[in-house]
Amino acid sequence: MVDAQSTNQSILVVGGGMSGLTAALEAAEAGYEVVLIEKNPYLGGRVAQMYHYFPKLCPPNCGLEINFRRMKQSSKIRFFSMAELAGVSGQEGDYDVTVKVSPRYVNEKCTCCGKCAEVCDAEIDDPFNYGMDRIKAAYLPHEFAFPMRYVLDSSIVGTEEGKKCRDACEYGAIDLDMKESTFDLKVGSIVWAAGWTPYDATKIEYYGFGEYKNVITNVMMERLASPNGPTGGKILRPSDGKEVKNVAFIQCAGSRDENYLPYCSGICCLASLKQATYLREQYPDCDATIFFIDIRALDRLEDFYTKVQEDEKVTFIKSKIANITENEESLDLLVEGEDTRTGGQIRMTFDLVVLATGMVPNKMEFEPSPEVSYDEYGFLSYDPEKAGIYGAGCVRRPTDVASCVQDATAAALKAIQSIARR
């Protein structure tokens, strides 16, 4: 199915988020052949799920749109969505890789007219919104999805629903017989930009995530604030859909803790500062309390911290919160801990708690896997002795978007060098 001819002069980029897109575009715009693969049905990765960036409070889709334009005009990049790296063998300058493509059940004839979704009655949890709402099982992942093409969830394939969708399509775009497939590529170097997964907050049992509906994570908060999120951009309590009046942000939820994630994820402080501004914009009377160990706003991001501190409805308390309990009637949350500054006990009630959870790097988990080094936390480390495969972005270190792009640009050069060395 795939016309994926490539040579050992090509670069494979794994991951179509901000890092992968950047690595692919930078190399392609310097004249190199690139194959980009992305696991999701759309490119853009985690940033596509964010409402705004800190500190400018601007929409990530703006930069993504530019990157997609760059991609559209480049004849050097070929990309595959719903595609994953399934095996790598060989060495620098001469890799054989296997790519696995999952069935989308929708082919390139899709015009995005939406007829399939109109007739579809089956629903699934929306993966784009971290399962906070339900969508049709024939769906466009989100409005800005690139490529702009529907997806049929595998749960309705082989059912009457699936057939209904297929029959509704005027363009013959739904193919219920699609199967998982693989194809092989020859490439000279590989950029691993597979990104990160939010730390599983259910592991921090004393915070009750997964049990208490009004305890959410920072990535979920982004969806709640987004106009294309589950609540149309209104920040509402998940339990009852009520407006919020008093919200807690718990920093280092699992991070900087040897029982969970020993490292600092670098971005959670700023993410919470930013999310506090979302709240304050929507609810002039809403209080926000940020419980922190250290506020880590590097370089000129300090200005953003200063700005948020000026808001008297945002309170900062230095404390590592020890426990959260839910009031069974109101579903409000009692937050307990020690105020490290005063030594006093904290017992405060909130109607929503946001856990600032950290980033877990995505590793290469397939066979055969190439020889690469990871640090003890699973971040890919650069070993000049093992050139040819380069990490880019959050697979190397937890960091913000600008640093990921910077890192991915560097990775593009490394990948080019592997080809130039031949």
Binding site: K72, C113, Y263, I295, E302, Y382, V405, A410
Partner: protein, 743 residues
């Protein structure tokens, strides 16, 4: 090119239900005499595309107008090669999906869109890439021979390109050669700096030409064609390079300004830089008497995160103090380190090194210094301990180390002043005014650019020539010149090394793209470039002043001297030119003017107002598409024309529209101001400023200034767009019809 044009109308996705296709075809065949006009129920399908291809082969069609979905989709399906002109007319997202099907107004909208497409296809030409007369260079100039500059040079060479490295000191290595040890990934232990090896590999590399004890005296030309003069040992050497990396590093914040921390007052109060140099030289001792040190206190954020000194955080000082505390322990395991801090900022895996400091027994006190003094030959520091909520006094200190921050080497000690234009607010008696960091005249000398808009890279407010964009940290306002390392922003060594490789990548890419005559970011690959009909130039200097990238110099008679390889193809010059002498092959004042003139304006008694909306193609246009995809509805009286940047909007279009009887004009563009989102820096701001001038003119013509409006739209504002548009339509209804209608 001899055009043979055809129109293809897609009737799928609801277009055929919304519009009378036969009538629509009549516009093309009758009004515009385009001989071939076909419709197809599924134009983007294999059959539809074959239909077009067949006509190309058999009929020699080379210009096609695709009246179907938005240009944002099916771009690949309707790509017929670089020798074909393809114009897309949006009948789906912005017509069929956002307006009542079968309605007269919807039909008129579709027809106008097609008219504009036909005119555009007629006026547009295939761009021919710019080719300079002289040969292009792909060599990279790197200014600064510290760790960032050395890395940039080496990475450039490893990719197969030649590098020219210029360092002002006699020796390469920069600050790193003064360092004892490094703390870097994986942040477990101290490691060697490795700087000597790095210097050696640069010096030994045949692809790198090194100038030490040298400075860049002049950079003229543009990407691919930079002519560089390097002063070295009294000689001036010339080099020709394709792109430039500025890695001029940082200087420590001047501790003499920190007398409240005892610096200058007590010999044993030193800076982290002095501490590093002392450690590297051999032994850490008390400067006052050369004796052993046992108790050391580090004052974090000495002058940093302080509005009186450096408001920003220098990112590295926490890690540096932890490292230096480790030196102290290494020298004397019995020694005690105190760290007085606001927040410990060891991000990522560097947290491990903080943990090491805690495990090694370093004592961390969260608070601020209230007093530094001397008693019995030892220092003491008094602080407000935030954790204990009381004052603490740490006594018997041998050494106090001030963790001072980084100031970019680009930042001048005194803000420069330049001659201001007459009547400028804030000018002194001599007519001089402080230059803004934002301009090319602020930063200290490093590059000496021969640019009308200043000799150095514009910087952000603290003097760092960093990008303003989160998504594009290597965005630069001087094409082909990229900042790297600590001059760009404060960063630790591991990041400076990555940053240098990134900047080298951008430099190489710019040199490659320039050699092909194509644009770099954000209009990467664009082959068009502005052409100047110089015989009509009136030397007004607007284009030279307003070009966001300094692409246009002036001669002594104020004639513009365009450097096409510096150009980013935004069209701001085209928007600025009152004589309309600047145009691109596929984008010109005349072309958009003709599109506006193609809009049919109904007579006043038909009560169908018309509004022209000029929209930023990167943000506002996609937002409109999104509103369409969401099947939102808005007024069918508005005609949208996407523009490269609102800064390219020429005011004559407003006049064109008004004289045609169009009732209102809307400009939809990006946020401007401190957190601007315009990817051409000031495009949207310029547009709003220019529009305010039009308002004055309109008032003079007895035309209400309410008829023109600038509206800020971000790409995710699609949910607000229908409301914005409807609100403007209400204003137009109130103002009433344009009196010039029917003239």
């Amino acid at each position: 090119m001899d055009k043979k044009t055809a129109v293809y109308i897609c009737t799928g996705c609801g277009i055929g239900d919304a519009l009378d296709i036969e009538k629509l075809s009549g516009i093309a065949t009758d009004d515009y005499s385009i001989p071939v006009c076909k419709d197809h129920p599924f134009l983007c399908g294999p059959e539809g595309v074959d239909l077009i291809k067949k006509d190309m082969e058999e009929e020699g069609i080379n210009t096609v107008i695709i009246a179907a979905c938005s240009l944002r989709v099916n771009y690949d399906v309707f790509d017929f090669g670089s020798d074909k002109i393809v114009e897309r007319v949006n009948l789906r997202e912005q017509v069929a999906w956002s307006h009542e099907p079968g309605n007269e107004d919807t039909q008129m909208l579709g027809e106008d869109n097609l008219r504009m497409g036909c005119v555009k296809a007629k006026d547009t030409q295939l761009p021919v890439p710019f080719k300079a007369d002289e040969a292009y260079s792909k060599d990279i100039l790197i200014v600064g021979g510290g760790v960032a500059g050395l890395t940039a040079a080496l990475e450039t060479a490893k990719a197969g390109y030649q590098a020219v490295l210029v360092e002002k000191e006699e020796k390469l290595g920069g600050f790193m050669s003064k360092m004892k040890s490094l703390v870097t990934l994986p942040y477990k232990e101290l490691s060697e700096t490795g700087i000597d090896d790095l210097v050696k590999s640069v010096e030994d590399n045949p692809k790198i030409k090194v100038y030490t004890g040298s400075s860049v005296e002049k950079v003229g030309g543009g990407p691919g064609l930079f002519s560089v003069e390097i002063k070295s040992n009294g000689n001036v050497n010339s080099e020709k390079v394709g792109a430039v990396v500025q890695a001029t590093g940082w200087v420590p914040y001047d501790a003499n300004k920190l007398d409240h921390l005892g610096y200058g007052k007590f010999k044993d109060v030193i800076t982290n830089v002095e501490m590093e140099e002392m450690a590297a030289a051999g032994k850490i001792t008390r400067p006052s008497d050369g004796k052993e040190v046992k108790n050391v206190l580090f004052v974090q954020c000495a002058g940093s995160r302080d509005p009186e000194h450096l408001p920003y955080c220098s990112s590295v000082c926490c890690l540096v103090s932890l490292k230096q505390a480790a030196y102290v322990k290494e020298q004397n395991p019995e020694a005690v380190n105190y760290v007085l801090y606001k927040d410990i900022r060891t991000v990522g895996q560097a947290e491990d090194f903080y943990r090491k400091g805690q495990n090694d027994g370093d004592i961390f006190i969260r608070g601020t210094v209230s007093d530094v003094g001397e008693a019995g030959g030892k220092l003491y520091v008094e602080a407000d301990d935030e954790l204990l909520g009381e004052k603490v006094k740490v006594e018997e200190l041998d050494l106090v180390v001030l963790a001072v921050g980084m100031v970019p080497a680009a930042k001048p000690e005194v803000t420069p002043r330049i001659k201001a234009p007459a009547d400028t607010e804030g000018a002194d008696e001599e007519g001089m005014i402080e230059v803004l960091p934002d301009s090319g005249f602020f930063a200290t000398s490093a590059l000496h650019l021969d640019y009308r808009q200043g000799p150095e890279l514009p910087t952000l407010k603290y003097g760092f020539p960093d990008s303003h964009f989160i998504c594009f940290p290597y965005e630069t306002r001087r094409t082909g010149i990229y900042a790297a390392g600590c001059v760009r922003k404060p960063m630790e060594t591991a990041r400076a090394i990555d940053d240098a490789a990134g900047a080298a990548m951008k430099a190489i890419q710019c040199a490659e793209a320039t050699a092909q005559g194509i644009a770099v970011h954000p209009r990467a690959g664009d082959m068009s470039f502005p052409e100047f009909a110089m015989q009509r130039c009136t030397q007004c200097k607007r284009c030279t002043e307003e070009c966001p990238f300094g692409a246009i110099n002036e001669d002594e008679k104020a004639n513009p001297l365009p450097s096409p390889t510096r150009c980013r193809r935004c069209g701001v010059c085209m928007g600025a030119c009152p004589e309309r002498i600047i145009s691109f092959k596929n984008y010109s004042v005349g072309m958009i003017g003709n599109m506006i003139k193609a809009i049919e304006v109904p007579e006043e008694d038909e009560e169908k107002p018309r509004v022209l909306a000029l929209v930023c193609e990167n943000d506002a246009y996609p937002a409109l598409d999104m509103a369409g995809i969401k099947k939102m509805k808005w007024s069918p009286y508005i005609r949208f024309i996407p523009v490269r940047c609102l800064g390219s909007v020429n005011l004559v279009w407003v006049a064109d529209a008004m004289s045609r009887g169009i009732d209102g004009i809307l400009l939809l563009g990006c946020r401007h101001g401190d957190d601007y989102q315009c990817h051409f820096i000031k495009g949207s701001e310029l547009a709003e400023t220019r529009l305010s001038k039009v308002s004055e003119t309109l008032d003079r013509l007895a035309l209400e200034s309410d008829r023109v409006r600038y509206v800020e739209v971000s790409i995710t504002d699609y949910d607000k767009i229908p409301g914005m548009l409807d609100e403007f339509m209400e204003t137009i209804e109130e103002v009433g019809p344009n009196p010039y209608k029917g003239w």
